[in-house]
Symmetry: C2
Subunit: 117 residues, 2 copies
């Protein structure tokens, strides 16, 4: 068993098309998780993740804050306790539209699986 | 994209070795998620999940409440924002030791993958 508080896990800046965004790898290669990895993102007010698409899915749970998820022709608002599923290949971006930090869990397939590099 | 509030998802009772435990399938077969599924458990005070083991892993994030995770020779307390990884094959049980509901996310491989039936 591995048990750790989220805040003990180092937050790393997300570069490449993001702004005001940090990531914590909560459960991943650090514990040898074989199939999928759990990350927690923190977006400062006004921050955003890259607008992009890829061949793997996202399974997202909003922990706190307010934002929108942007798609090609759609933009939908979300808040705490919302769950968001981004299909493989779907273009997407998360933006913090609130006045406080936005935090969400985002689970992806492990590297080497399902097209993840 | 699929976006839904957790509380709109029906809670089902967990039988077979559990007590005071409900599950919401947040992201799973309802959206055709191919690789892993996100569930949210709610344990009433005193409630517990089954003490068992299986060949797939758990990736857990504690949303609220206080509890312990029990293993063969170990028992560890947890609280909000703790992350817990249960390895494939590791015996485990979650118990609510607090006075309010315990809620946590638990992600598992999709049915038909990694030994999940």
């Amino acid at each position: 068993m591995f048990l750790r508080n989220l805040r003990e896990i180092p937050a790393e800046a997300v570069e490449e098309g993001a702004s005001g965004t940090q990531i914590r790898w909560a459960i991943g290669e650090n514990v040898g998780a074989p199939n999928f990895h759990m990350r927690v993102f923190t977006l400062a007010p006004g921050g955003s993740t890259p607008l992009h698409e890829h061949v793997w899915e996202h399974e997202v749970f909003i922990l706190r804050g307010e934002g929108v998820v942007v798609e090609d022709t759609d933009e939908r608002a979300f808040g705490p306790e919302d769950v968001v599923y981004i299909q493989p290949g779907e273009r997407h971006q998360f933006r913090n539209t609130g006045g406080a930090d936005l935090e969400f869990i985002c689970v992806i397939p492990a590297a080497g699986r399902c097209g993840v590099k």
